[in-house]
Symmetry: none
Subunit: 416 residues, 2 copies
Amino acid sequence: MKNIFAELISIGDEILYGQTLDTNSHWISAELDKIGVKVKRKVTIADTEEAILEAFEEAEKNADIILITGGLGPTKDDLTKPCLAKYFDSEMYLNEEILQTLKERFAKRGRTLNKLNKGQAELPKKCEVVFNQYGTAPGMWFNKGRKVFVSMPGVPKEMKYMMQDTVLPKLKEQFQMPVIIHQMVKTSGVPESELAEKLEDWENNLPKEIKLAYLPGLKQVKLRLTAIGADENRLKKLISAEVEKLDELIGKYVFATEDINHAEAVGELLKSKGLTIACAESCTGGYLSKLITENAGSSAYYQGTVIPYHNELKIKVLGVQQETIEKFGAVSEQTVIEMAENVRQLMHADIGVATSGIAGPSGGTEEKPVGTVWVALADGENTQTKLFNFPFDREGNIDITANSVLNLVRQTLSAK
Amino acid sequence: MKNIFAELISIGDEILYGQTLDTNSHWISAELDKIGVKVKRKVTIADTEEAILEAFEEAEKNADIILITGGLGPTKDDLTKPCLAKYFDSEMYLNEEILQTLKERFAKRGRTLNKLNKGQAELPKKCEVVFNQYGTAPGMWFNKGRKVFVSMPGVPKEMKYMMQDTVLPKLKEQFQMPVIIHQMVKTSGVPESELAEKLEDWENNLPKEIKLAYLPGLKQVKLRLTAIGADENRLKKLISAEVEKLDELIGKYVFATEDINHAEAVGELLKSKGLTIACAESCTGGYLSKLITENAGSSAYYQGTVIPYHNELKIKVLGVQQETIEKFGAVSEQTVIEMAENVRQLMHADIGVATSGIAGPSGGTEEKPVGTVWVALADGENTQTKLFNFPFDREGNIDITANSVLNLVRQTLSAK
């Protein structure tokens, strides 16, 4: 089967000048990789007609699929659309359907369209419209011979919607792709090097159709198994046999084999057991609750949170005893125990969890340096605690603390 | 003064396949921007000789300075060095000094050099060595006519050291740079198109030395003013005159003219007025608190939060009256008023804020569709409320709600 090549073009001075980090092309690359399209080159260029037209021309020589992001805003420094019209030698027209959608969206928010917004409904005649669920700039799909050009907005959310809703399915229709099956195995609570050691033998004996990639991160390591071939059923069987072997080898660290996040996996586990959870957050400052509640349906198992950032409030709002804090300090096993047990009762939950630590950059002492974190889990019968010494910056320490609580909940519930 | 242009080349399959996010070129862009070098284009290419040589050739046509990262590892899929030797038609030699440094570093860790490691001390004769403090691959500086090529490793820490220690100072010596001043003006609470309309006249009358760019996002729009010229004092005066005009035109939306985030700007404002804040979050589920507490030093103005996700807890923990919820519902002006006033008292804060809404995707009704959000701010004298109808998905609705509360706090405090 012939390789299918893509070139990605990001348009925007803000990327060239280092003000915006281009995460779009990274995300697009990974998505194309999943369907078997090889990205051959990525180019980032300025908002000038010369640079844009030259990039189109070069990309057309290099690749079968050209995906373009950015430069579709309503202001006059956004040049992608006029350049596309010029490149494809296509007149512009007013798309009444898009205009109508824009009008309705604006009306809902009690606003009327101005001249600039109306301009967004004007499109080159030769393009097919790619629907934009989240913004006012429509995407554009052009066929040129056997090649495809797609232009999408630079706002990541809008681009991602278009890719998933329209572009990826349409590309799969139009090009003949190999069968590729990806299986993600997500782990938490174990470092990459330890995982690699545990999996060395298994990895050396993988069938030749399966490739393994480690996708390491601060709080979780993902394993991606990729099977490439022609016979879908055979590949699926191969993959699921390997996932079973992984379960035996590292099952206690695996929180998901589907596309769900850590908090969602914990939520599903709570729901399946008919249990609810409440949080008392100090050093995580709402981040743990945010991870739980960003998942739709979390109200089925999440009761609520108290974040008492100061000692007086730990005492007053959460009922931690004054003596406990005076004797052991706010960052102590004794304090997180009371926080977890009390928030469980206050919020009528089955499980109460608590965090207290020094996220940094300041606030550390010799005895309790930055990164010292206590967490606790109370279930009405037992209260467990864990002490961590994390080496990260404020953001990293907060992130890994919240995930450590999720780990604790998951491992406790899985053992029951 | 003549513009000085740079082109950045990132080499590596792992970037093209979406496994590694390229943060190097983002960082380099920002550093070059600061010294007045314009990045004209960034290119990411595969580890193949053909792609690398072609990229060198194109870059030499486009730019005065070509900065290359990646492909300098010891293994055979790292091709940058042989390609440079070929491109500059230069023989290789063994650099004894580098070999010695490598031997010493390895000895310190109790290891000896293998053949692959020794190869790292071999360099094209035509290059000047760029010292690598943190790794085994030296950087290489080539002059070709008036143009400069620099090759650096892809490991961010090694690349950054080389840039700061050698490359940036040497570039400043070798090229005559213009003076460039950037000024960011960050706004929140106003869409890009509305902003553009308000600023149309102003934009058309900008002095020719100043360029304006819109950097839009879901919750905030940033304006970037860039002044380029020869006389630093004159440019600074020009910029600050325009910032003053912006303050008159759109001052109520501007939350920062420095490099700080929205919650940080609100925090600074609270601190300067000696005030503290507490939050009662329902639909935002901890996200607002997370935005506040992710900033170091937030404990100076942040008291705490209650997240009562269910009606019974709004009543029990936060003291909202049962009748209020029964009569008006949890998503209502009356409920957010009580939430804001009560959390202010409970947490001993000067200002209490509250959110209650339907983030989605489910939970909407005809009367209160998904996106309906009430927020409130109580300062002990007055309690203000706002009703929103946001059109986004769960994540977007949560994000913009939290930012709307920050807006409300900022505008209230600024008016005082």
